[in-house]
């Protein structure tokens, strides 16, 4: 296909460019808008944006090329991406995608001849409790089945704008199944900020410390320490006193709503129905560290939440909970801006997230220095998970002791779990830390469970023998994913899916992860194709070691976990797939002759190896 020509690109892009100003840190947002308008980012647009922002052309191309939802090639007027997490697989997404492709006469990964539509897969879209899911031009579709796909195909054929499609296709429900103190108690907007102002800033930080709140994004770093470091960073630089609020240079509060880990969707629910709690936690954090500006980094898959969240922000501004002199407190100014991602799991890693916020490729930075001292635009920055801020708001309101009364000594409070897979009641469950896997399975109807993937592919695979283990930093730490597999599931399939996920999501910066995840994927494909040998298993273990020890960031460090865990806990699932040979080539020699047989019309014994 010939690349399209856009001689009028300046006019076409001028509303977008005007909206964002000549601010290079808005590059990703600009590219998103261009993608929405033109369905891809043509070379002319790259040139135009580069001259408008005053940055080199290859930087613009570099950013456009990095994010999955941006396309430098013509991508079709309707771009349908099927969520491809293992839970979607288990619900038949692959078969449905094939059905859909046949219906529209397109091949997966290709744009239709008339440039109308393209169909492909994307990493988990955070709808595991209501899959199979997909995105159409970035908008989430849920509960797909043949009927819905028939309708969607019809809408596409008649070129109906996505905005006019029936709303039921886009319905996303919360599915909250168990509430505890975070979700259960009614929360009055402003109450936590008020309590914070009354108590004092230093005292509030002391409460967060006393609560022993640990980050809900996975690593479990103590939130009070992070806030203290961030605050101290400037104080040190400026030679002033710690906890001296007011008249401070810039610091930033960032809420990490990238939620890219397959199997997690609790942040989606918090942002849907508890946004006030989250924004209030950010505001308290801002008060404590002395930040006047905050960002919500919202993953591209949750594009549909943008307007509702903007509305909440607007309402809070009107109520005096954001903006200048919050709740009448002189000099307490704080506001929040929402930044949309564009399909990159790595942007959940905090330093990659900051790069992305600055309008760059999402590449994890070298550390030290850490974001708390050198974050957004080189200024001290706190990056916390959505749930962490929600919990902080509750602590601001009720105090640290109240919070620490729940959970275990090292893991206080409650934890939201996103439960999906082979259970009768998928959805969000809030438990005090310390709950056993067994108990959870009982509650969600995971009766035939054989294994649970805790905290997503980068987490831990737990087999039926370990169901007595507990959700807590002391035992099974988790960002919240809880994917259940029943007895009949082939665990190899899950590990296979996860290797594809990591290879697709590696940022490509460092050698071990860029090449190692791809090698791992190729070996898993070889085994899946029936060509695996014991030597391949050894190679997988070997690669796992290199990924874990040499990678630059957490993605590479954990990319081999699913394979290593599955090899250890379910070795049979691999062995059943192996050829009992010492060596086996990755391709089928006889199969390679098939084309020749077709051409010559021969299929006799001599035409085979």
């Amino acid at each position: 296909m010939e690349p399209c020509e856009f001689p009028d690109i300046e006019q076409r892009l001028s509303p977008v460019l005007q909206r964002h100003g000549a601010d290079a840190s808005r590059l990703l947002q600009i590219l998103r808008d261009v993608q929405d308008t033109l369905h891809f980012i043509p070379p002319e647009a790259v040139t135009c944006i580069s001259s408008h922002l005053g940055i080199p052309r290859d930087s613009v191309e570099g950013v456009a090329g990095f994010y999955s939802f941006l396309s430098l090639q013509p991508a079709g007027e309707y771009r349908v991406l099927f969520s491809d997490n293992i839970t979607d697989n288990m619900l038949g997404n692959r078969e449905l995608m094939q059905y859909f492709c046949n219906k529209l006469w397109v091949e997966q990964g290709r744009v239709s001849e008339d440039n109308l539509v393209s169909v492909d897969t994307t990493s988990c879209t955070g709808m595991c409790d209501q899959g199979p899911a997909a995105l159409v031009n970035g908008w989430a579709l849920t509960n797909l089945d043949q009927n819905r796909l028939d309708l969607i195909a019809e809408l596409i054929r008649s070129r109906k704008p996505v905005a006019d499609w029936p709303p039921m296709l886009f319905e996303v429900v919360d599915n909250i199944r168990r509430k505890d103190t975070l979700l259960g108690d009614a929360f009055e907007s402003g109450s936590a900020i008020r309590a914070t102002l009354t108590r004092g800033t230093r005292e509030t930080l002391a409460e967060v410390d006393k609560a022993n709140l640990r980050g809900r994004g996975g690593a479990g770093f103590k939130t009070a320490s992070k806030w203290t470091f961030c605050h101290a960073a400037v104080a040190e630089e400026e030679g002033s006193v710690i906890c001296d609020i007011g008249g401070n240079p810039e610091r930033f509060i960032v809420c990490n709503a990238d939620e890219g880990e397959p199997g997690t969707f609790k942040d989606r629910v918090l942002l849907t129905s508890y946004a006030d709690l989250v924004f209030e936690g950010m505001t308290i954090g801002a008060r404590v560290v002395g930040a006047s500006k905050g960002f919500l980094y919202l993953r591209g898959e949750y594009r549909y939440l943008l307007e509702p969240l903007e509305a909440v922000l607007k309402r809070r501004r009107e109520a005096g909970l954001l903006g200048d002199n919050i709740l009448g407190e002189a000099g307490f100014s704080f506001d929040i801006e929402i930044h949309l991602g564009a399909g990159a799991y790595i942007c959940g890693e905090e330093s990659a997230l900051i790069e992305s916020l600055e309008g760059k490729r999402g590449r994890p930075r070298n550390r030290p220095p850490f974001p708390v001292t050198h974050g957004y635009k080189g200024r001290p920055t706190v990056v916390d998970n959505v749930e962490t801020f929600a919990a902080a708001a509750k602590i601001g309101l009720h105090g640290g002791e109240w919070f620490a009364a729940q959970g275990t000594p090292q893991s206080t409070g409650t934890k939201l779990l996103s439960i999906s897979g082979d259970v009768s009641r998928p959805g969000i469950y809030e438990y005090p830390f310390g709950v056993t896997v067994e108990q959870i399975l009982r509650d969600c109807g995971g009766d035939d469970a054989h294994a649970v993937q805790i905290s997503g592919p980068s987490g831990t695979l737990v087999s039926w023998q370990e169901f007595g283990r507990r959700i807590a930093f002391e035992d099974l730490p988790t960002a919240g994913a809880f994917m259940v597999f029943h007895r009949k599931r082939e665990m190899f399939a899950a590990a296979h899916n996860f290797t594809h996920f990591f290879a697709h999501e590696s940022c490509g910066f460092c050698t071990p992860c860029r090449v190692g995840t791809e090698l791992q994927k190729k070996i898993m494909d070889k085994i899946a194709g029936g060509h695996g040998t014991p030597a391949d298993l050894e190679e997988l273990k070997h690669l796992g070691g290199i990924l874990g020890s040499m990678s630059h960031c957490g993605l590479g460090h954990s990319a081999a976990n699913p394979v290593l865990d599955t090899l250890k806990k379910f070795p049979g699932t691999f062995e059943r797939k192996l050829k009992a040979l010492a060596f086996e080539p990755a391709f089928d020699l006889d199969g390679a002759l098939e084309t020749a047989r077709k051409i010559t019309g021969r299929d006799d014994e001599w035409a085979h190896l």
Partner: protein, 241 residues
Amino acid sequence: MSKTISIDGQAVAFSDGQTIMDAALAAGIYIPHLCHNPEFKPHGSCKLCTVKVNGRNVASCTMPAVEGQEVLSDTGELNAERLVLTQMLFVEGNHLCPGCEKSGNCQLQAVAYYLGMMSPHFNHFYPQREVDASHPDVLLDRNRCIYCELCVRASRDVDGKSVFGLSGRGIGTTLVVNSTSGRLGDTSIAATDKAMQVCPTGALLVKRRGFAVPIGDRIYDHLSIKDHLSIKEVQTGGDHE
């Protein structure tokens, strides 16, 4: 007041702001590396320079030296892991050492020799990558690029041209150039640019200069990269032509 770290048991002096790699190079200790060149801001992508500090692996080119660090570098375990990384770089691209103009002067090849690489070990990826011969004086053969971004840094920070950048991600990462056509011939690069001197492989070459020194008489034909770099790099900043 001089501070010290220990590298493989040897006391090494450093000053504030130096990385472990800086301290090592100044002391004439070779830590294998490809994406590092002391003239440029550290990058930390190839991971060949990984060392063990107090039991944890870190990239020595980006890790600040801190008083009292116990650094392990020249160990069997680390060299074995570095060898695997080197093999990864070889199978990821299309390297044709015997016929390559850079043979004997190539750091990738020299590191492979140093680490005792006898085979690529993994299956080759055989990627399709574009060769760009559009410029009258320089050649870009992406088949040999290892994404060290030295040309990116040199062109941006020294030449002030930003001719090179990376696009794509993961295994689909590509080196792109700053022109609407995407071709080097339409950029402002010149054969005399710093960017043309820093490539550790044969990916960026000045035309009509190949084989000026015959293979057999080149830098690493006589000296291992360890012996060459630990003496020379401090003085010449790693220009291996």
